[in-house]
């Protein structure tokens, strides 16, 4: 085998310019794929992080039917304390869950005494919410990074539009599930940076204030956001939760709860999928580049060496060995291209990371791109290149191995 490699490498060196050009083409393909994977992956992960860590959480549990009507924030589909107790027991028995935060979601009127607008609000347990959404505090751009009783954290757009500052007094008026209206005077405790996606323009207040505004006898929860210890376990935990909660049925014998991952709740999931599809097509392009360039080079190599093939075949070289000679040549080209492409790709990714490229997403500005690439991606891209290089060499190599020595020796 070593000798086959020696001959293959010397033949590659023999046609140095062609080898360098082909390997460069492969390397450039690898470089672009790696940079694209790193940049798009970084963008995707950052946005997913923003969505899950400052708004949605990783998974949400609702009463069955709530998500279908989520735009109306129906108080009639909130969960009773008994249901909440069952869910809490379930969550506490699952070590994969790092934190959970029950929320009362409702819509109301927001008045600064001179102006009035509508607002969506989350009544939360501050400690639980901040534990479940670790990036929420960083979105509070004015005021203390806390949610206190008697205070409301208002969205930036409302604060600007109504010229409100931290410490100003406002009134929130809401209709409870029985249809009666109630209002409560609160202080602006902070201003929350807007974020793209569901819940990105919601205000926050203490759950006890929400209970008071909505005149609830007992706390009735609209949704529970869950944070997992390992985001990679998202689907597994989702499946487990679904399986466990499937046993919980309502009076009609139908499932009492519904479980959704962030993917089912945020439209960004479709963008993330688009990015994955684009990555797939970029990889397909790489495959095409490698396939065409390797096939081209190997067809030329076989054509130019027909007499050599005839000679080695005449002196007794087995067809399998001739096949291997050309396959190894293609393999070496693939490896060479992959190594150079990986090295160049890593350098470009390092440079992009060092220069801290910023981008905007929705109303979020100054997001710093931090491209990284997994070792597994390097392996996958390298394996694709090497595998395709071998596949690209197969037809010419097979042709060489099947060549009649007598015809090959006559070739001019």
């Amino acid at each position: 085998m070593g000798n086959l490699f020696k001959i293959a490498l010397r033949n590659l060196r023999r046609y140095r310019r062609r080898t360098v050009l082909t390997a460069s083409l492969i390397a450039i393909g690898v470089l672009f794929v790696l940079v694209f994977v790193a940049v798009s992956g970084s963008f995707k992960n950052m946005i997913i992080g923003q969505i899950t860590d400052s708004m949605l959480g990783h998974i949400q549990v609702h009463r069955k039917g709530y998500v279908a009507s989520i735009d109306n924030l129906p108080l009639t589909l909130n969960m009773k304390p008994e249901a909440m107790a069952k869910l809490e027991k379930t969550f506490q028995g699952m070590p994969e869950i790092a934190a959970y935060s029950p929320r009362i979601k409702f819509g109301g009127m927001f008045s600064s005494f001179t102006e009035t607008t509508n607002i969506r609000l989350n009544g939360v347990y501050p400690e639980k919410e901040l534990k479940t959404l670790p990036l929420l505090a960083s979105r509070i751009v004015e005021g203390e990074k806390a949610i206190r009783k008697g205070e409301v954290i208002i969205p930036e757009l409302i604060a600007r539009g109504m010229k409100l500052n931290v410490g100003d007094t406002i009134v929130i008026i809401a209709t409870n599930k029985d249809g009666s209206v109630n209002g409560k005077q609160l202080r602006v405790g902070g201003v929350l940076e807007s974020a793209t996606g569901p819940g990105g323009r919601d205000g926050y207040l203490h759950i006890e204030d929400a209970v008071e505004i909505l005149r609830m006898d007992a706390i009735e929860i609209s949704e529970i956001a869950l944070r997992l210890k390992d985001f990679g376990e998202l689907n597994a935990v989702n499946d487990t939760l679904n399986a466990v909660l499937l046993g919980e049925v309502n009076k009609q014998g139908k499932p009492a709860f519904e479980v959704h991952t962030w993917e089912g709740l945020s439209p960004f999931f479709n963008i993330a999928r688009m990015i994955d599809i684009m990555t797939f097509f970029i990889k397909l392009m790489l495959i095409a580049i490698v396939l065409v360039s390797i096939m081209n080079v190997m067809i030329m190599a076989v054509y130019e060496r027909i007499r050599e093939i005839g000679t080695i075949s005449a002196i007794g070289t087995m067809p399998g060995k001739i096949l291997s000679m050309f396959l190894i040549e293609g393999f070496c080209l693939g490896v060479f291209g992959a190594i150079v492409g990986n090295a160049a790709g890593l350098i470009i990714i390092f440079i992009l990371k060092a220069v801290k490229v910023t981008f905007e997403f929705g109303r979020q500005t100054g997001l710093v791109l931090s491209p990284t690439i997994d070792v597994s991606d390097l392996f996958v891209v390298s394996l694709i290149v090497i595998g395709v290089a071998i596949i690209g060499s197969l037809q010419p190599a097979f042709k060489a191995s099947r060549m009649e020595p007598i015809k090959a020796l006559r070739h001019v």
Binding site: N3, R10, R14, E308, I312, S313, I315, G316, P319, L409
Partner: protein, 234 residues
């Protein structure tokens, strides 16, 4: 016991609609350790006959046995194995591998065809390099040596596997007459040393005289057999 025996061997090629009979009812027998030449004008069937003996092609009719093997019965792999074991080839254009050194070219059949152990390989290659006078050029590549030197390397490569038979198709055609004689002398010397049968085809009348038995081919048939020191037209 004959090394090669041809009985009513014919070879026909199909060129489009036309069938061309390159060899017609050829009969001969060749003993081991012979030094034989096939001569004749272009198109007389010399190369076709050498290709058949070398298991590179199969007769259309008749029976051709080489080292007790009917060459017509060998498939592609068996043919390659047979050639690797029993036959050495010397080509008009030398046909050395340009990416291998002189040493590696001679070593190639031992390494890639016969899988001979390293120590034995080295011994056999060095012995042949010495025999053909190329030991001091062993690390050079084919493009760094002369035509005569290339053909000496080709002779060594043909002999390194200790074949029973070496076939040389116009081995001196691309050499000047002095070098051509040198190569034929070398082939004779190798025949004497290794007891290998050498069969070569040539146009060159001066070189022809160096063979011990000369078969003359005309229009695909053997027109004469001349043994050095006498004629034998039977």
């Amino acid at each position: 016991m004959e090394l090669i025996k041809a009985e009513n061997v014919s070879k026909e090629y199909q060129v489009g609609e036309v069938a061309i009979r390159a060899l017609n009812d050829v009969n001969f027998a060749i003993e081991p350790a012979s030094f034989i030449s096939f001569v004749g004008p272009s198109g007389s069937g010399k190369t076709t006959l050498l290709n058949l003996i070398g298991c590179l092609d199969k007769p259309t009719e008749g029976r051709l046995t080489v080292a007790d093997t009917d060459v017509a019965g060998l498939d592609r792999r068996q043919g390659a194995a047979f050639r690797g074991e029993h036959i050495g080839f010397i080509f008009q254009d030398f046909n050395l591998m340009p990416v291998l050194t002189v040493y590696e070219n001679i070593e190639y059949p031992l390494l890639m065809v016969q899988n001979v152990a390293a120590a034995e390989r080295e011994e056999r290659v060095r012995k042949l390099l010495d025999a053909v006078g190329m030991l001091d050029q062993k690390d050079k590549y084919p493009d760094q040596i002369s035509g005569g030197q290339k053909q000496r390397v080709a002779v060594a490569r043909a002999l390194v596997t200790n074949p029973k038979l070496v076939l040389a198709d116009e081995p001196t055609a691309n050499l000047d007459s002095k070098t051509a004689y040198m190569i034929i002398d070398l082939m004779k010397k190798m025949r004497d040393e290794f007891k290998t049968t050498f069969i070569f085809s040539t146009h060159d009348q001066k070189i022809v005289g160096e063979a011990e038995i000369i078969y003359t081919l005309v229009d695909g048939a053997i027109a004469g057999r001349q043994v050095k020191g006498g004629n034998d037209n039977g």
